[in-house]
Symmetry: C3
Subunit: 157 residues, 3 copies
């Protein structure tokens, strides 16, 4: 029996509702035991938690929080397939894009906040491969966008 949900509760966190969609896509798709999700930003409580570029309007600490919120939003999408996070067998891959100024180079520190959170929630099952990337631009001027692949279990088909 997985303890992911219990770990999340102990951290004072919960899986948020899936953010409103920005187009004609679906939150998540199951292929075999893998679940792919759509890219997410730090939408929370009805709006983006932060807007702007990291290194300018958005600080490193705010970007780290944005990465964690985005990751939880990805989990919300994935739970549309798995039902709950205890059915996530393993985090496989995180890809994080950081919208930042030309002289900001600490992208790994931004995405690492999410990597660490996932280890706290999923323990050994939270170990993942990762790609941290910078960009000059993200949808709606959000500071961080995250996408993920997980391995799931107890799926219907």
């Amino acid at each position: 029996m997985k303890q992911h949900q219990e770990n999340l509760r102990k951290l004072g966190l919960k899986i948020p509702p899936i953010p409103p969609k920005g187009g004609a896509y679906v939150p998540a798709i199951q292929v075999g035991n893998l679940v792919f999700c759509s890219g997410q930003g730090a939408y929370r409580d009805g709006k983006q938690a932060y807007l702007g570029r990291v290194g300018n309007e958005v600080s490193l600490e705010q970007a780290q929080e944005a990465a964690c919120i985005a990751g939880l939003n990805c989990l919300a999408e994935i739970c549309s397939i798995t039902g709950n996070i205890d059915n996530i067998k393993r985090i496989v891959q995180i890809r994080g894009f950081v919208n930042c100024t030309n002289n900001f180079h600490d992208h790994p520190k931004v995405i690492d906040a999410l990597s660490s959170l996932f280890l706290d929630i999923f323990g050994e099952n939270g170990k993942h491969v990762r790609c941290a990337l910078g960009t000059s631009n993200l949808p709606g001027n959000i500071p961080v966008e995250v996408e993920m692949i997980v391995e799931a279990e107890n799926l219907d088909n």
Copy 2:
């Protein structure tokens, strides 16, 4: 029997030839039931349909058209494995990169044109996860680059 090809015909569209390769890669690769394709721009009739950044030389409407052309080019690559689009069981994932000015933030509107087109062609089988991203730069100064994963059926192995 899938109606994808028939839907494409009704839309007045067809799968284009695979664009000339820009290097030592292949158009598509099959892994189990999944087919991955190489990234594509809006190459059409022997040249790129548009060049430049969205928000500058390229308008939103032109970028939307570029996204659709790029997506059809991806389908052309995928058909090198599947033979035709009726053997595409499902669109799994679209990742779209938009080469744009620093103050352009409507990336989802650009890529959504392709998402909607795929729903028109593939119906329920066109539902996919998506990642829309911005960048300051794409190969050859193309405005949009798209890559995809699909699930296929009736494959030889």
Copy 3:
């Protein structure tokens, strides 16, 4: 019996040690027969081989070398799962991000150096799909970041 290791030796190359990690992620993850790796730059002999943007501090030729070093670092990560490169059945996908100036558009030439190297090492098994992308920014100001998916064989589970 695969000749990948022998081909690598003939090229005067070898698989480097896995570069130091920049966060709470793992080098590679196996899902079925696929192995995903984390994004890598051109770390070599204890430091990044090059720093800066292509088109500015970094030349096309240096960026091509950086892409090859990054690709070998990805292979090092993958070998943490497969043991050696002869257990790599096939390169599936390369995604290469080039940190460049606004007017640099030869991203495919940068990543093609790695594509060609993989054909030299893996022969027919080196054929892959590819995505070459530009960005204004990469972690630590590295010029090139590469991530990959391979198909492996002779794995324990």
